[in-house]
């Protein structure tokens, strides 16, 4: 078997850093809480509508589980649920979050993503990827007109990095004891 074809656990990566697990039902609970926060909080403070809590949750679970399939499936579920709460067709956020979940899980095999700083930077990076994919897919698949505001997007990425720093500390309390 070639080196490319070997799984991460066979390369020894998985042995160095065991994949953490959440308490039973915690991932589903986190997703539900993220969806509720996404639709409820902007009602009280409209500025919070600029945040994508669902994306941050997908990145957290994917980085934590270090399993591309789990990350992908979680991303897909989160994205389709998010699609259901919008007026757009189902699948737009589904595809984006599937790719984000898969990528985050794959990256966590090769990067030490347990440090708060690293997770925060990754969250900002994935926010930018998410936005880029959203623009591309909206234009390519739905024919929507794209209004790309790059400075605003970069600023929002920094805000998401800060939010990830706080949220992920909170989410870590739901980890299962080793």
């Amino acid at each position: 078997m070639s080196l490319v074809g070997m799984r991460a656990s066979e390369l020894g990566v998985g042995r160095c850093r065991e994949a953490a697990r959440l308490l039973p039902g915690a991932a589903a609970g986190l997703l539900l809480a993220a969806l509720v926060a996404q639709v409820l909080l902007p009602l009280y403070l409209p500025l919070l509508g600029l945040l994508d809590v669902v994306l941050l949750t997908v990145v957290y679970v994917a980085l934590l589980r270090r399993n591309a399939l789990v990350g992908m499936l979680f991303g897909m579920a989160a994205g389709l649920a998010q699609d259901s709460l919008t007026h757009g067709p189902l699948g737009l956020f589904g595809i984006i979050n599937t790719i984000i979940g898969y990528s985050a899980s794959s990256i966590s095999l090769f990067l030490e993503a347990d440090y708060p700083g690293a997770r925060s930077v990754l969250a900002a990076g994935f926010f930018l990827v998410h936005q880029l994919l959203y623009w591309m897919m909206s234009a390519a698949l739905l024919g929507s007109e794209i209004v790309a505001d790059l400075p605003r997007t970069l600023m929002l990425a920094a805000v998401h990095a800060g939010l990830a720093l706080l949220l992920y500390q909170l989410f870590d309390r739901l980890k299962r004891a080793p």
Partner: protein
């Protein structure tokens, strides 16, 4: 083959997942099928929780204001201070209640004022996408709310119902990038299409550059989209920009789209008249009145001397003469009125009765002997 699949298992799964969703997406776009069942499940799972939290927040904050905070006040202050704090809190509570009831009262007043049948709904949450402008309201299929119904406030229109679920409905706001509304400019009565841009302001398209538009001009619904009844206030022009073939008109909606509380859903719309134009567009240059030759017949006498003048009038001139008499009987003169003057009532009969035109006796030929 199996080894190959095993080697690229994750990538294959990713491609399959993305591919399936692409097919799902393509199916919806092509068939215009909204996959209502999946949406209903998600809305059914999220909204009750959200509604519960919404009520819990209100209850907790109410308990905190009315009990916990009072206990703290009692410990810290005595006598008049405590009473003052209680009164202040009660005052705040009453003010809030008053504002809420005033808003609701305003809404109910507006509801009875407009001819369209409406249902009052409360905004309970916003949509899940950062890039969309949409809200959920607490009325749905059980209240006979259907997709395509217009949503408005006394200030102006808000959006349209995009999807309806048993106990909630999703409303697409007019400033969403996918929203468009048929509008008419208040001054010139020229029609256009207002599109959302995702921000606070909206954009009116398809208005010719020759139309004179002014900042501050009011915009109303035209009814052309068959969603919003005609004549509802939309917003006012805030700026104009140089565009291409059409004018670039930016409009700020009257409705506070970022602070929606209670709204009206139009269950049965009735078009209404546009209000009188606050900015009448008078022509830049008015031509002078035509010279009096057109009226030479009546003013200078019959063309064929000798014959009775009355018999030489054609039907048009007879009618014209009658209308002139009617106007003069009402103290007005045709052709000299200013813009804005009331028009004569041509249905009333002229008084006094029309006198026959004089016969030009000097020019009358002698009867044949």
């Amino acid at each position: 083959m199996l080894e190959l699949f095993e080697r690229y298992r994750n990538v294959t799964a990713l491609i399959a997942a993305v591919g399936l969703q692409l097919i799902l997406l393509g199916y919806q776009v092509r068939r215009d099928d909204d996959m209502t069942m999946l949406r209903s499940w998600t809305v059914g799972a999220v909204l009750p929780l959200e509604r519960g939290l919404h009520l819990s927040f209100d209850s907790v904050s109410s308990v905190w204001r009315n009990y916990v905070w009072l206990v703290g006040a009692r410990e810290e202050n005595a006598g008049m201070r405590r009473e003052l704090d209680v009164l202040r809190l009660q005052n705040q509570e009453l003010r809030r209640e008053m504002e809420r009831s005033s808003r609701r009262e305003q809404l109910v007043g507006y509801q009875s004022e407009i001819e369209s049948e409406t249902v009052i709904a409360e905004v309970i949450s916003v949509g899940a996408s950062r890039d969309s402008r949409e809200v959920f309201v607490d009325r749905g299929q059980r209240d006979r709310v259907r997709p395509g119904m217009a949503v408005l406030t006394p200030e102006g229109i808000v959006g349209k119902v995009q999807a309806s679920y048993p106990r909630a409905a999703l409303v697409l706001l007019i400033n969403d990038a996918d929203a468009a509304v048929g509008v008419v400019l208040g001054g010139s009565r020229v029609r256009g299409v207002m599109k959302g841009r995702g921000g606070v302001e909206c954009f009116v398209d398809y208005v010719s550059r020759e139309v004179e538009v002014e900042v501050g001009e009011r915009i109303y619904t035209s009814g052309d989209d068959r969603i919003f009844p005609k004549g509802l206030p939309v917003g006012e022009v805030v700026r104009l920009a140089e565009g291409g073939a059409f004018q670039s008109i930016w409009v700020r909606p009257y409705a506070r789209l970022d602070r929606l509380d209670d709204v009206l859903i139009v269950s049965s719309g009735v078009h209404q008249q546009l209000p009188a134009s606050p900015l009448p567009q008078t022509p830049g240059a008015l031509m002078p009145l035509p010279p009096p030759d057109a009226e030479a017949f009546i003013s200078s006498g019959p063309a064929f001397p000798g014959l009775p003048a009355e018999s030489q009038l054609n039907e048009a001139n007879k009618l014209k003469r009658r209308y002139r008499a009617v106007a003069e009987a009402q103290g007005m003169r045709i052709g000299v009125a200013e813009l804005g003057d009331p028009a004569p009532d041509f249905n009333s009969s002229p008084t006094p009765a029309l006198e026959p035109l004089p016969v030009d006796e000097a020019a009358t030929p002698a009867p044949a002997q």
